[in-house]
Structures are given as structure tokens and as C-alpha cells.
């Protein structure tokens, strides 16, 4: 028992590092009260270290802490994704006026970001329903507070309240689903649930209700329709750095859990050996992939259609991120290795292009003082480099070549066509066309409209440009040389306990 725990601890290094960083950040905040700028450096170093430890876990595949969490390529992939997002967000925070104007509370900001990252690391590896709920809660509670970080701004605390009400509601729904699932199968471990469902037949109506309720919890995390109501409000009200973090990392962690839950709980190992149709094998009489397909169509269509009417760029990006969750759900509908690899590729691409778009919005808001689409009029003449970067990010988000976004969409559609989901692929392609319209609206304002008011050129410092290049170069590069990310994705679809 002791040896097992010690072994588990050695495999738990990234999470342990984050926990210690969290404690040190708070303590250092108390001791170094006069030097608040030191704390983010400590937190940054901790997250960097944890990400390095996560890199070293690559290739291992085992269950630790009596099967509460697993360390497998799939979990490590999402840990790396979340860790690198957190690192980039800390870089953003250096230049965020919203964050830097509240120096005294910088301790809260950086320590809660660490706590949130820890929650997401746990979400990536959780295989026990209890662990999943606790990881979601750790992530959510930190993000509720961070969404209301600029508490003097009325829209920030409003966003925070809306966030916690929707969040608590979906946690309640999910927990009720879990309690029913526990009653049906007598287990909370996803592998045990799988065995129990394979061995005995359970009441299918009760199982339907339970899984629907659990989907409500996951759907809230990935902001899928109809659980998306919080997204636009929170994204608009929260500080931009937090919005960017939520839009990438929180979504990634939610997807990791959703995929793991469905894949392991309902896979039929006997059917899988015979043909590829066993992925949803244990839900006979009910086609879950159809439900997910409908969810995905609703999510992307609503996200794209509503985004067309938005005039605040943060809100526009919020709806666009809802739409992107819809695209990624298309890959979950397929759920074989090819579909999952496509989702992972999409996430890597999405990290760079979405963070890049938010970064430009932040830089412009710092100088112009507004996120309104009208304030982008004539920006192409006032600050050409930033505007060109924004165009690249938007082209990538719309999924046009030669950017990385195209590669992401290409692999998704290929996986869909391969699994004979032609109608879903067509809907996805049509949605990309709609999304092009609202991205181009911003581009038109930047290049084809004369500036209103000030026409002075806007200048940015060299480090700010360097961070922008850090996001811009991969967005272009992965569009041309995509084999490394595809190889990484293909190697990362392996889950512990799934052959």
C-alpha cells in the first residue's frame, strides 16, 4: 500500500508541483506584501516546471492512486495543452491593463490561475466520477472568482454571478446523473461502469436520463448549446486574459473528460475486436452518436449565426468559440481513433489562433480603450503589423488555407467522411462559410474603412510583438508543415485500458 502510494506520487509530479506553487504563491503574497510583482513570476515558474514534468510523462500509461486518475498519452497531451496555454496567459498578463491596474490583488490572480491549471490537469486524467466532479469544481470555483477579478467594473461581477449560477446548476444536474448511474451500476470508476454495463442489462430509460444529465455537466464546460448561455456574458465581462484562458484551456479539459467518459464507459471490447462499430457498443437501442451529432449541429449553427450580429469583439469571439466547440464535437461523434486524432489536431491549432485573436483584441483595447468593432476602423493604417496578424488569425479561425485552421478542419472532415457522416460534414462546411462573413466584417473595418477620430499610428513595444510572433508563426507554419502535430495527435489518442 505504502509502496503503491509512493509510486503514485512519483507519477503525480506535475500536479504536486502545481499544488506546491499554489501554496507558495499565497504565502509569498503574505510575506512580500510590498513586492506584488514577484508573485506572478513564482506562479509562472511553477506552471512552467509542471509542464516540463508533464512532458517527461510522455509515453507512460498507468493508473495511479488506486485507479482514481490515469497517466496516459491522452492525459499528457491535454496537460501539455493546458500548461502551455497557462504559460502564454501569464505572458499576456504582463501587458494587460486590467490586470496590472490592480497590483495589490495580483496574488489572487496568479495563485488562482495556478489552482485552475491544477484543476484542469486533474480533469485530463480523472477516470473516477468522483475525481471528475472534484476536478471540475476546482477549475470552476477558481474561474468564478477570476471572471469577477476586476470587481469594480459592474459587468465583471455580473459575469461572475451569471457564471456561478449556471455553473452550480450544471454541477447539480451532473451530480444527479452520477448518483443515478451509481445506483444502476454500483460503481463510480469508469472501467467498472463499463464492466457492469457489459455484464448486466440495466433499465435503459434510467440510463438515458443519467447520461443526459451528465452530458449537461460536460456541455456546460465545453459551452455546447443548450448549455452555452453563460459563455457570451462571461467572456465579455471577464478580463481578456481570463477569457482567453477559459476559451482554450477550460474547453480542452472539458473535452478531455467528455471523450474519456464516453469512450471508456460505453465501449464494447468484444465488438471492437470484430469491427470498428464497438465504440458505442454498450448503449444498444439508443444511438448516442446521433444525439451528439444534433448537439454539435446546434452548437456550431447557433454560435455562427449569433456571432454575425455582435459588435463587441470579445462577444464575437465568444460566439465563435461556441461554434468551434461544435466543430470539435463532430470529431467526438465519430469517436474512433481517427476522429479523436482530428479533435486533438484541432485543439493544437485552436490554441494558437484563438489566443492570438484574443491577444490582438487585448493590445488594441489597451490603446484604444474599447473592444467595439467600430474602434477597429482604419486600424490597418494605424498599426499595419497588428492588423495583418489579426487577419491571419481570423483566416485561420474561418478555416481557410494556407493557415493551420485549414488543417484542423481538413482532418475533422476527413474523419467524418471516413465514418460516413456526410450530412454532418456538409453542415460543418456550410457553417465555415457563415463564420467567414463575420470575420471578414472585422477585416473590412480594419482595411477598407477610414479611421474615425484619431489617425495617429499606434505603436507597440518589442516584447509585445515577440509574444504576437510566438502565436503568429505556428498559425502559419502548421498550415504548411503539419506532420509533427498530426504525429503527436496520433500518438496521443491512446488511453489507458483501451486497446
Amino acid at each position: 500500500m505504502v509502496e503503491q502510494t509512493l509510486h503514485s506520487l512519483s507519477q503525480f509530479l506535475p500536479e504536486t508541483t502545481l499544488t506546491i506553487t499554489f501554496c507558495i504563491s499565497i504565502l509569498a503574497g503574505l510575506i512580500l506584501r510590498n513586492k506584488p510583482k514577484v508573485i506572478p513570476v513564482i506562479s509562472f515558474a511553477g506552471i512552467l516546471l509542471a509542464t516540463v514534468f508533464a512532458v517527461r510523462q510522455m509515453g507512460s500509461s498507468q493508473a495511479v492512486f488506486s485507479g482514481m486518475i490515469v497517466v496516459d498519452p491522452f492525459a499528457v497531451f491535454f496537460k501539455l495543452l493546458v500548461g502551455s496555454t497557462a504559460v502564454i496567459i501569464f505572458l499576456f498578463s504582463i501587458y494587460s491593463q486590467e490586470v496590472q491596474s490592480t497590483l495589490k490583488r495580483l496574488v489572487e490572480y496568479s495563485s488562482l490561475l495556478v489552482a485552475m491549471t491544477l484543476g484542469m490537469f486533474l480533469m485530463a486524467g480523472a477516470v473516477n466520477l468522483l475525481m471528475m466532479v472534484l476536478a471540475i469544481e476546482l477549475t470552476s470555483l477558481s474561474s468564478y472568482i477570476l471572471a469577477g477579478y476586476t470587481k469594480e467594473a459592474p459587468d465583471s461581477s455580473e459575469a461572475s454571478l451569471k457564471y456561478i449560477i449556471y455553473g452550480a446548476l450544471s454541477t447539480g444536474l451532473m451530480l444527479y446523473g452520477i448518483s443515478i448511474l451509481f445506483g444502476l451500476t454500483g460503481a463510480t470508476d469508469v472501467y467498472a461502469i463499463n464492466r457492469s454495463l457489459a455484464a448486466t442489462s440495466v433499465n435503459s430509460v434510467a440510463l438515458l436520463i443519467a447520461v443526459l444529465l451528465i452530458i449537461a455537466g460536460f456541455g456546460y464546460k465545453i459551452s455546447a448549446v443548450p448549455f452555452h448561455f453563460w459563455t457570451p456574458d462571461v467572456y465579455e465581462g471577464a478580463p481578456i486574459t481570463i477569457t482567453a484562458f477559459l476559451s482554450v484551456a477550460s474547453k480542452a479539459a472539458g473535452f478531455a473528460m467528455l471523450i474519456r467518459f464516453f469512450k471508456i464507459s460505453f465501449i464494447d471490447f468484444n465488438l471492437l475486436a470484430a469491427h470498428a462499430g464497438g465504440v458505442w457498443g454498450l448503449l444498444q437501442g439508443f444511438e448516442w452518436n446521433k444525439i451528439l451529432a444534433i448537439l454539435s449541429v446546434l452548437t456550431m449553427t447557433l454560435g455562427n449565426l449569433v456571432a454575425v450580429w455582435q459588435n463587441n469583439l470579445k462577444r464575437l469571439l465568444a460566439y465563435s468559440s461556441i461554434a468551434h466547440a461544435g466543430y470539435m464535437l463532430m470529431g467526438v461523434v465519430v469517436l474512433n481513433d481517427k476522429g479523436l486524432a482530428a479533435v486533438l489536431v484541432y485543439f493544437m491549432v485552436y490554441l494558437f489562433m484563438n489566443l492570438g485573436a484574443f491577444y490582438v483584441v487585448m493590445l488594441v483595447a489597451n490603446k484604444v480603450g474599447s473592444e467595439d468593432i467600430d474602434s477597429y476602423k482604419g486600424l490597418g493604417y494605424r498599426s499595419p503589423f497588428i492588423s495583418v496578424a489579426m487577419v491571419v488569425f481570423f483566416i485561420s479561425l474561418a478555416g481557410l488555407p494556407p493557415t493551420a485552421g485549414f488543417i484542423g478542419k481538413l482532418f475533422l472532415f476527413a474523419a467524418l467522411l471516413d465514418a460516413r457522416w456526410v450530412w454532418l460534414a456538409v453542415v460543418g462546411a456550410l457553417n465555415s462559410v457563415v463564420s467567414l462573413y463575420y470575420y471578414v466584417r472585422v477585416v473590412r473595418n480594419m482595411f477598407l474603412r477610414d479611421p474615425e477620430g484619431s489617425t495617429e499610428p499606434i505603436r507597440f513595444s518589442f516584447p509585445q510583438m515577440a509574444i504576437l510572433l510566438l502565436l503568429l508563426v505556428p498559425t502559419l507554419l502548421f498550415g504548411l508543415f503539419y506532420s509533427p502535430i498530426v504525429e503527436l495527435a496520433n500518438a496521443s489518442v491512446l488511453m489507458f485500458g483501451v486497446r
Partner: protein, 100 residues
């Protein structure tokens, strides 16, 4: 001996009351109370199943659910206070800067 169905029906009813409360009530404090009601019905289901299956896992889960509920209530009320300082209200209908 009370049958397990009775417990499950009771918890389903309390759960639905909780959900309706969250969706229909306009006072933020009452909304949080309704969320507590939902979580407590989860606890009742877990305990009932736990006794029925003879498996203590369910009762262990209840402790975690209670902790989660307490943490959520603490953060939620803190946010309500922050908002009240800005707007002098806890009515959700008045909290409407952000829309569509």
C-alpha cells in the same frame, strides 16, 4: 422497511423543485438555496442507493458533495456581495448589462 422507490421518488421531486427554483426565482440568494436543494436531493439518492446496494461508496460520495456545496455557497455569496456593492440589488432581472 421503506422501499427504495420511495426515496428515489422523494429525491426526484426535491431535485425538480430545486431546478425550477433556479430557473424561476429572481432573487440570487433564493437561487443559491435552490441549488443547495438540488445537491441535497443528490445526497438522498446516493444514500438510498448505497443502502440498497450495500456499498458504502455512495455514502462517501455524500461527504464530497457536501464539501462541494459548501465551497460553492461560499464563493457564490461572496460574488453576490461584490455585485451588491456595485448595484445595490440581488434581483437577477436588474442584473442585465450583458445581453445578446
Amino acid at each position: 422497511m421503506v422501499e427504495i422507490q420511495s426515496y428515489l421518488i422523494l429525491s426526484a421531486i426535491t431535485f425538480i423543485i430545486g431546478v425550477v427554483g433556479v430557473l424561476a426565482r429572481r432573487n440570487a440568494i433564493i437561487v443559491f438555496m435552490s441549488i443547495e436543494l438540488m445537491l441535497n436531493s443528490v445526497n438522498l439518492t446516493l444514500v438510498a442507493f448505497s443502502a440498497y446496494l450495500g456499498d458504502t461508496t455512495g455514502q462517501m460520495l455524500v461527504f464530497f458533495v457536501m464539501t462541494v456545496a459548501a465551497a460553492e455557497a461560499a464563493v457564490g455569496l461572496a460574488i453576490v456581495i461584490a455585485l451588491f456593492r456595485n448595484k445595490q440589488t440581488v434581483n437577477i432581472d436588474d442584473i442585465n448589462i450583458l445581453k445578446w
